[in-house]
Symmetry: C7
Subunit: 74 residues, 7 copies
Amino acid sequence: MPERRPFDVLNSSLNNTVIIGMKGGAEFRGVMVAYDVHMNIVLEKAEQLVNGEVKRGVGTVLLRGDSVTFISPA
Amino acid sequence: MPERRPFDVLNSSLNNTVIIGMKGGAEFRGVMVAYDVHMNIVLEKAEQLVNGEVKRGVGTVLLRGDSVTFISPA
Amino acid sequence: MPERRPFDVLNSSLNNTVIIGMKGGAEFRGVMVAYDVHMNIVLEKAEQLVNGEVKRGVGTVLLRGDSVTFISPA
Amino acid sequence: MPERRPFDVLNSSLNNTVIIGMKGGAEFRGVMVAYDVHMNIVLEKAEQLVNGEVKRGVGTVLLRGDSVTFISPA
Amino acid sequence: MPERRPFDVLNSSLNNTVIIGMKGGAEFRGVMVAYDVHMNIVLEKAEQLVNGEVKRGVGTVLLRGDSVTFISPA
Amino acid sequence: MPERRPFDVLNSSLNNTVIIGMKGGAEFRGVMVAYDVHMNIVLEKAEQLVNGEVKRGVGTVLLRGDSVTFISPA
Amino acid sequence: MPERRPFDVLNSSLNNTVIIGMKGGAEFRGVMVAYDVHMNIVLEKAEQLVNGEVKRGVGTVLLRGDSVTFISPA
């Protein structure tokens, strides 16, 4: 196992803007304020994106880890 | 792990209006009156939305956590 | 955790008419006479609905919890 | 929990004709001669249905519980 | 529980020709020479079928139980 | 349980060319040099196939067992 | 079990460029800097590919193992 672990990305992204990919292709962009071991994630000031375009603002949103495909610091 | 946890969003949303995203793309909007660790959720005064439009009122509805993708305070 | 629990909806709906949403979009409407912790559900006098229209009567039907997405008292 | 349990439907349907719904929409109709706790089911004199029409006879068939969505006495 | 069990079909089909349905709709036909509790199955002299037509011969093939939907003696 | 076991196919295919079917329909062909109990598989000199046509060479590839549907010695 | 194990590919690819296939067909290419037993993977200098074409640069990205289908050293 490598010394760096995947969850380090989550920890270092706390309070920063991230893009979250979801199963089915939708994406959310917002400030990550909480996560847990299941990759359940809370974003604030969040927007839902479809094909890279902002579809709507959603404010605070809890994303269920089971539906998350990727997490990328913006 | 951060001090704020994803389930805090659920707890703080009790008795408030939320929007729930479901696998397949449907959404429900209503007052969240119950949830559990599986993210099974009960809404009252709920409406089912398709493409952001109200499809129908459903009154009380129990959403199975396995099908939930996101939860957002309205 | 809130005092009201999601399964309360199931218990209070026993012997009443409910609408059950299934993965893939089909729905069943009938009198709920049994359920278990997996959300396996038995309806009697049941009808299968497609796009809100009655497709056919199915009498008694056991719905596998894994395929259930929502349960709503009718 | 209610006194009647979902698996009662399976037990009372033994040696009777049932219709089984499968993920993806296919259905099988036949005489149920065996089942287990995973809802693996064996039908005899079975037919595969597509859109309610008989597609072909399949004789004996073991249906994997993971793919079963509903079971209804015919 | 009934006296006959679903896995009896597997055992009695050993060294006989079976048709296996897979998630997504493909099918394989061949002589079943091995299986396990996960319904992983090995066929010999196997053919892959699409819409009931032979698509190609595949000789020996190990089918992963997770993708199997039904098993029927041919 | 039969004396022959599904994993025998994996073991006897080590260092031989196999075709691997993946969920969604893609296939890989290459020399199998490693596998584990989850059916995670490593191919070398591998090619990705779409509709039976070589789409591209991929050299070494680790296939995640969860996405594997079948394994066939070429 | 063979002496070579699938995770050897991950370990030997650390700090090298890899292509990751995802459920649904998207791919990511980048330098793998971390992974864990769930095949959660972190890429740096990553690009998202669609049909083999670079769709966009994503910098650092954490890919959830559950959505990974294959990993190939580039």
